[in-house]
């Protein structure tokens, strides 16, 4: 059955290609001008072989025959050589290796018989090997044909160069071909071959193809009378323009006038270049593609003409089709899609953009699957334009429907991409919900990517972080296997950096972990979050303990193990009773039995990148450009406004934790805060200061928030976010500083210095850890990236001051300088001490000298919630002792501060007076300065 017997491909099998199948062993009906009967017989034999073995046997027989002919004494005539070379080619194309015959093929090249030459060139084109001796001979033959002035021979030689395209050929011919291309007396067909031959060589060896003096003449090929010459030349010109836009920019006006002539021509004007009533569709597409190498034309007349063309193309899409054949609509729509690409590329004609969007909207519901696919794909880029973003959004229901109902996974994939691209704050909840529900039945091949997309959207458009946490946990529930490390690390990273969501996250994972079966990733996330923030559900834990008697899910057993492991089993209430869980191990196996304990006990992973570990993954998956849509979108929508509202949710720069908010210690307005409220950047103040960049006032905004906690955001302005995470043991500490560049611009010369002012130097050692990262911090911080620095801290003796962190970097040429107080306070070196009531009061009395005691009476700055107070005292690092104070309303704590030289015993008593909303805080320490310092620090925490 002939292939073209119907417009649609025939489902019936007409010819069997398997050697063993039933098939006609007849010769082909047409064998124009072909005398190679031996070849036809051989092909028939192969097709009649009943098995693979028989085929191999027949081939080996033939190879032996050919080899003997080639080696034989009798010189072979050209015809035989041609026939055998052709047989070798056939054998090669069947998938067998060929290791001889190259020389005979090369001999054919210098035959003066066209058909022999042609087979020789075909063999070389398909089977070239980089045998240098052979290449030299081949190049010689090509050289002869190129200078033969016989256009048919010249074309064969040029085809061969274009097919092989090796560097050796570029070296031999790159300078010759431009001459052939622009010479006045070159035949059109040779010009066409020369143009594409040159293109191939340019792609292989751009350094060898020097257009120089030829540039202008090559560009003017766009004006050539012969449409075939223009069609071939424009591919070359487009490629060259991409690499050297300035040198080729005169092509813009030529391309516009050529396009205009084609678009306005009647469907018969172009004769054989009209394809199913569409004038020159290939050339039109290429012209539109060439224009996409350039910005909109500056010349008003040229631009006007082009806009007219684009409008005509859009208008034609609305006209009734001139033919019912699919070729007609395909050719017409190919031009339309290319025109829309150009409109999107210009992104400057709102009218055209909206028309393009409407047109694509029509295609979204077209009965042709191909058009629906392309419309979804094209709309994806349209969604990134500020002019058409809203118009694209109106199609959301259609796209969601496509995601649900399309039968072809590649179309559904496009729908998912488009939903991702059209997502913004207004529709994020709907889109994420749809994607999540699609994920339940999604094809395995696209699940991982869908998971990444949901994770990115949830983070990017989180209006409240509880929604974010819910979404990610749902994601793990639905597609746990596809949630990569990047995704679940990220949720932990965000929870750590956002103290307003920590409580909610802890509560939610706590609930989630009570399900009878949890995905491993859920357990991991739960483990980390509860490990860090379990204390924040102290308030609700009590409730939980009442609601769900937990005795079956956790039993405790004292044993030394890590704190995280303890937290793993989310027994916050344990922390209240036994305080620092370092010494305790909670039997976790009942809760987390599917996860090996080794996993549970793994170290918290560091967060090397603040913004885009997930995004980077998506980019890697999809190749560059795949996520550019949304990135573009960000750049555009947020414009110059740097307090990246879109990036991090509604609250950004100065989101103090609820506790810090109420501290009322901001009598001296912190530099960052006052300036950001004035709408300018902190950095602007200093940008004028020149290279000397005076040190900024010390910012201790974040400092007091960290007295009772170790992790969180220390500082944030429009440019920079600094997060910390710290661990202390005995008199040693390690602090991880995370510097996140919130902008899309690189920070240059990024340096940080930690200094201990005055006496502090002799009291603590605070230095970047060199053995972990050879460079303390990278001198460059890319836009959106996060870098990490580790500080090792050693407490030599007790201290009151705090070390200072100075950060300098260049942002857009201006030097930024920032100094922060590092939240290293004496209480970080507490070891909790458990003791009975009797011991406590005995020691309390021993520390009775006036200078050993410090006391403060102060007004409560926060609600006097028992659980909150307990959590803070635990965070302070001392042991909270129950049943010690005769008054159950009071809190007493005990701990020992570990310095290098000595241990300082400390006792604390906090007496709340709920009626007066006051506290009395008393500290007694074996060293007087310590009492005073702790009292100062703590008095600002309640």
């Amino acid at each position: 059955r002939p292939m073209l017997s119907a417009t649609r491909p025939q489902p019936q099998r007409v010819f069997s290609g398997t050697p063993g199948g039933q098939k006609p062993a007849k010769m082909p009906a047409v064998s124009k001008g072909d005398g190679m009967r031996g070849l036809a017989v051989f092909i028939s034999d192969i097709r009649n072989c009943k098995s693979k073995e028989a085929e191999i046997k027949r081939i080996n027989k033939e190879l032996a025959n050919i080899r003997s002919k080639f080696k034989g004494d009798k010189a072979l005539d050209g015809y035989s050589k041609k026939k055998y070379v052709c047989k070798l080619l056939f054998i090669f194309l069947l998938g067998h290796d060929i290791d001889f015959g190259h020389m005979e093929a090369v001999n054919l090249l210098s035959s003066n018989k066209y058909t022999e030459k042609q087979i020789g060139y075909l063999f070389i084109s398909v089977l070239v090997n980089s045998n240098s001796e052979l290449i030299r001979l081949i190049n010689n033959a090509i050289k002869n044909d190129l200078s033969s002035r016989n256009p048919t021979f010249m074309c064969l030689a040029l085809h061969c160069i274009a097919n092989v395209g090796s560097r050796e050929m570029a070296e031999a011919f790159a300078s010759e071909i431009p001459r052939i291309l622009v010479a006045g007396d070159t035949m059109d067909s040779v010009k066409q071959s020369a143009a594409l031959c040159l293109l191939r060589l340019y792609k292989t060896s751009p350094d060898l193809v020097l257009m120089g003096e030829w540039t202008s003449r090559v560009v003017h090929l766009l004006n050539d009378q012969h449409m075939g010459v223009v069609t071939a030349a424009i591919s070359l010109i487009t490629c060259l323009s991409q690499k050297n836009p300035d040198e080729f920019k005169t092509c813009v006006s030529l391309a516009v006038s050529r396009l205009s002539r084609i678009v306005s021509s009647a469907s018969t004007d172009l004769q054989d270049y009209t394809y199913y009533f569409v004038p020159a569709p290939w050339l039109s597409c290429k012209l539109l593609r060439l224009l996409q190498c350039y910005p909109p034309p500056e010349d008003g007349a040229v631009k006007g003409r082009l806009v007219e063309c684009l409008e005509t193309i859009l208008n034609k899409a609305q006209e009734p089709p001139k033919s019912k054949k699919v070729q007609h609509s395909n050719a017409k729509n190919a031009i339309l899609f290319e025109a829309i690409s150009l409109i999107i590329h210009y992104d400057s004609e709102p009218n055209l953009l909206v028309r393009a969007c409407n047109q694509l909207g029509q295609f979204l519901q077209h009965r042709e699957t191909n058009l629906r696919y392309l419309a979804l794909e094209s709309m994806c880029t349209l969604a990134s334009s500020e002019f058409s973003h809203e118009a694209v959004k109106t199609h959301i229901e259609t796209v969601i429907n496509a995601l649900k109902t399309e039968r072809d996974v590649s179309v559904r994939q496009r729908a998912a991409d488009l939903l991702y691209a059209m997502c913004d704050r207004s529709n994020a909840k709907q889109i994420v919900a749809e994607m999540l529900s699609y994920l339940e039945t999604a094809d395995y091949s696209i699940r991982e990517e869908m998971v990444l997309k949901v994770a990115i959207l949830a983070e990017k458009y989180a209006v409240d972080y509880s929604w974010y946490v819910d979404t990610i946990l749902n994601l793990i529930r639905i597609a746990g296997d596809y949630v990569s490390e990047e995704v679940w690390y990220r949720v932990i990273q965000i929870v750590i950096n956002r103290d307003d969501v920590q409580g909610y996250a802890a509560k939610t994972v706590f609930e989630a972990l009570q399900a009878p079966a949890c995905h491993e990733n859920m357990v991991k996330v739960g483990g980390y979050i509860l490990g860090e923030f379990g204390n924040l559900i102290a308030v609700v834990t009590v409730l939980f303990c009442h609601l769900a008697p937990c005795s079956s899910t956790f039993s405790q057993r004292p044993r030394r193990l890590s704190k995280r492991c303890c937290a793993m089993s989310w027994l916050v209430h344990l922390q209240q009773t036994v305080h620092n869980s370092d010494q305790y191990y909670v039997q976790t196996s009942e809760v987390v039995s599917p996860v090996p304990q080794a996993t549970v006990l793994e170290e918290m992973p560091p967060f090397p990148e603040r913004e885009s570990s997930i995004l980077a993954k998506l980019k890697k998956k999809k190749g560059p450009g795949a996520v550019s849509v949304t990135e573009l979108e960000d750049g555009k929508r947020e414009g110059g406004e740097l307090n990246g509202g879109g990036e991090r949710g509604p609250e950004t720069a100065s989101t103090p934790s609820p506790s810090a908010d109420l501290l009322g210690i901001r009598s001296v307005a912190p530099v960052g805060a006052s300036l950001s409220s004035a709408g300018s950047l902190l950095v602007d103040v200093f940008s004028e200061a020149g290279p000397a960049a005076p040190s900024a006032a010390v910012n201790d905004d974040g400092f007091l928030r960290f007295v009772c906690k170790n992790n969180g955001v220390l500082f944030e302005n429009q440019l920079l976010q600094i997060g910390i995470k710290s661990e202390y043991r005995q008199n040693l500490g390690r602090m991880y500083l995370f510097y996140g560049n919130k902008t899309s611009v690189q920070f240059a010369s990024f340096t940080t210095t930690v200094s201990c002012p005055g006496e502090l130097q002799s009291h603590i050692l605070c230095r970047p850890q060199l053995n972990v990262q050879s460079k303390p911090v990278e001198p460059l911080v890319e836009g959106g990236a996060q870098i990490q620095q580790v500080l090792n801290i050693e407490c030599i003796t007790d201290f009151s001051e705090a070390p200072l962190l100075n950060i300098k970097f260049r942002y857009g040429g201006a030097l930024q300088n920032l100094t922060l107080k590092l939240p290293v306070t004496i209480n970080k070196f507490f070891q909790p001490t458990e003791m009975a009531s009797q011991d406590f009061f005995q020691r309390w009395k021993q520390l009775s000298q006036p200078q050993q005691e410090a006391q403060k009476i102060f007004k409560a700055s926060h609600g006097m919630d028992t659980e909150v107070i307990k959590a803070k005292l635990l965070g302070l690092g001392m042991a909270l002792l129950d049943n010690v104070d005769p008054n159950p309303e009071n809190y007493v704590c005990a701990g020992v501060i570990q310095t290098k030289g000595q241990q300082v015993g400390c006792l604390l008593r906090l007496e709340p007076n709920a009626q007066a909303q006051m506290y009395r805080l008393t500290l007694r320490c074996s060293k007087d300065l310590v009492s005073r310092r702790l009292c100062e620090l703590l008095a600002q925490q309640f």
Binding site: M3, G17, K113, S189, C197
Partner: protein
């Protein structure tokens, strides 16, 4: 730019391969195997385009043969589909109602026609008349020569 074009049968037999980018034989075989499998697994009526590795595959089935082109991401899918169609038209016109057997027995002709139509992965000449004219001129040369050789040398 087109990266390669493959013609294969419903049974997965490769009938023609044209590579416009340099690849090793091993890579070519691997790509062919994977792609043939992927395309054959698709149902009729599905979209003619699919993303595969970092390429865009455009394919169409004609009778028992699949025509399959790999293009770069930004290339126009619909016009590639019509490249395939024009090539089928050229084969059809040349062989007269072309069928798979014509391509098997005259594979070299299929290559020559393709070279006149596409070069280096780009359209060289889209006019059907011009492409066929070039091929027929060559055939004319060939027929004269064949006539002579058949007189003097008996083909084996």
């Amino acid at each position: 730019m087109m990266q390669f074009m493959l013609l294969f049968s419903r049974q997965g037999k490769l009938r023609l391969q044209k590579w416009y980018v340099p690849l090793s034989d091993k890579e070519k075989k691997k790509i062919t195997r994977e792609l043939v499998q992927t395309v054959l697994a698709r149902k009729p009526k599905m979209c003619s385009f699919l993303e595969w590795r970092d390429l865009k595959i455009v394919y169409k089935r004609y009778a028992s043969l699949y025509f399959c082109c790999a293009t770069e991401g930004q290339d126009n899918e619909l016009i590639t589909l019509e490249i395939i169609h024009r090539y089928v038209e050229l084969l059809d016109k040349y062989f007269g109602s072309v069928c798979e057997l014509d391509i098997i027995f005259n594979f070299e002709k299929a290559y020559f026609i393709l070279d006149e139509f596409l070069l280096g992965g780009e359209a060289q000449e889209t006019s059907k008349k011009n492409v066929l004219k070039a091929i027929e001129q060559a055939d004319l040369l060939q027929e004269n020569i064949d006539f002579q050789t058949s007189l003097f040398a008996a083909p084996s």
